[in-house]
Structures are given as C-alpha cells and as structure tokens.
Symmetry: C2
Subunit: 150 residues, 2 copies
Amino acid sequence: MARTWTQTRPNRPGRAFRKVRTDHAAETAQDYVEAVSDIVHRNGVCRVKDLSEHMGVSHVTVSRIVARLLDEQLVETEPYRPIRLTARGEQLAAASRRRHDIVFRFLLSLGVPGHEAGPDAEGIEHHVGDATLHRMAEHVAGCEETGAAR
Amino acid sequence: MARTWTQTRPNRPGRAFRKVRTDHAAETAQDYVEAVSDIVHRNGVCRVKDLSEHMGVSHVTVSRIVARLLDEQLVETEPYRPIRLTARGEQLAAASRRRHDIVFRFLLSLGVPGHEAGPDAEGIEHHVGDATLHRMAEHVAGCEETGAAR
DNA sequence: ACTCCAATGTAGCACAAGCTACCTTCCAGT
DNA sequence: ACTGGAAGGTAGCTTGTGCTACATTGGAGT
Ligand SMILES: [Mn+2]
Ligand SMILES: [Mn+2]
Ligand SMILES: [Mn+2]
Ligand SMILES: [Mn+2]
C-alpha cells in the first residue's frame, strides 16, 4: 500500500501563502465599505465620483466593484444614484475602520512618521490576525498611558 | 480663469491606495525569489514542483510566474530544468529575506504566537516602508537586549 | 536499451481589477 | 422648459493569477 501521498495535507509555507491570498481577496471589499462610510459621514452621500477620487482609480473600476459589493449585499444603490451601506456593509465598515485605526495608531506609537504610517497601515491592516491585532492594541494603550509616541 | 481642476494632484487617500497596489505588484516576485533561494539552500536545486508545493498553487501557475521572472531577469532556467537565481534575483531574495525576518521577529517580540506570526509576516512584509522597517528592527533589538519576547 | 511515470509544458478557461473610448442620464442655471 | 456638461454606465481591451485537462519529456529502474 506504500502511499506516495505527494501532498495530502498542505505544508506550512503553503498555508501561509494561501492565507495571504484570501486576505487579498477580502481587501477590496473592506477598503470600499470603509470609504463609503467615511464619505457618507463627510458629504452626506457617497457617489461613484467620490469613491473614484478616494481610491485613486477610474470611475469604471469603481462602478464594477460597486456592482460586486451590491451582489455581496454590502451596499445598495440604483443607477445614477448615491451608494449607501447595508446593515452588513455597516458592520464590515465598522470592523475595518477599527482594525485600520489600531494598525495606524500602533505604527505611530512605534515612532513611524505619519506620512509613512498612513500608507503602510492601508496595506498592513489586511494581513493582521486576531492575536497580532490584540498585541498592537495593547502596545498602543501602553504607550498612551506613558506618554505619546516614542 | 476659475479652473475647476477636479483632480490635478492626487489626494491623500488616493496616494496611499496607489502605494498598496504597487506593493502588491511587487509581491509575487519577492516571494518567489525568496522561495527559490530557500529551496536551493535546502535541496541543492529548485524545481517547479518544489515551488508549487511551497507556494500552495498548481505547477501551471508556477511555470507561468517563472516565465515572468525569467523575463525580468530574476531567474534563469531552461524547459524541464531546475530554476536558479540570477545575480539580480539573489539580491532581491536577500533583501526580501531580510525584510521578512525583521517583520517576523518583530511580531514575535510583540508577543504574537509563532503560528500566527508566520502567516501575518508573509503578508505584512510587502507593505512595510523604510521608516517602519527601521522601527521594527529597533524594537526587536531592544527586546533582545532586555530578555526574549514579552 | 526500454519503458513508464512523475515532472513539466501548453491550451484554454475564470475572475479581479486596471484602463480608454464612447454613450446615456439628470440636474443646475439660464 | 431647455440644454450643456458633469456624472455615471457600457463595450472591450490588458495584465496577473488561479484552475483543469491534456501532451510531452527525461531519467530511474528494470
Ligand atoms: Mn482601511
Ligand atoms: Mn487597506
Ligand atoms: Mn516572504
Ligand atoms: Mn510574502
């Protein structure tokens, strides 16, 4: 019965890379619902144009992605109308913003200058597991009770 | 002269998201050259199969990506032959590994358990700017001179 | 020397996300 | 009420990365 079983259970590095890929797949939805939430709070409504400027992409890219979010019931809208978040969308936005803020404030508390912490946080946030997020939050809290960054 | 100038210079969030997108574009090359380097050190040679197992993807995906790395002069190989790194590939691999190690050890020094630090580092590494990397390295050094993680 | 099979290559598909070019809609200001 | 132009939709292309199915190759073992 030998069983060569070349690769029955996934190996360690393979698992890690798979996780990164699923994180990437979730990334767009998180950033967009967060953006919709921000823009609605700032402007009252969120239009395709607003998202296009916010994300730095063309309006075409935005409207295809909005169609996907509609599919996933994260937003609702009709043609030529503003975009609102569904309840699910609000939840995801809240969770994403919380994560984003923790990562951003953590980088600041590490001593990273704001102009670099912003862009770095935008990417890092999607790859931070629960344990890592907890540790970051604790670090931020620790630094704030002592005294500011550094 | 009014100048509506809807969007002449990119806005802040737009710049951040653009950076994330360029980071993602560089990600595959970095992970693959790092993998080739690791596998060569471990096995003597690196084959498509090794990469396929390491990355957790099919051999088809690997061989198309290897073709791209060949184009970018990061690796050299011929059909049905092992894959070696070029000088440029070695350089990129060394830089990537250094970055990867710093991020990983940083997470450990934060108190993140290894089984989560590994996968998280695999994603985070590509979004860490120079200032952030420096801060992480300093944090690791500080923790090591004191006493281990925590 | 042959043969078999694991490894590799190729064809062709899917899907996400980027773009330009072009068409349609709607509303603000006359 | 009209209408010009900004906003948004649509068509169709590109690139990157994933896949299955099938063809090819080369070397290990007889
Ligand atoms: Mn975010
Ligand atoms: Mn983000
Ligand atoms: Mn890596
Ligand atoms: Mn990686």
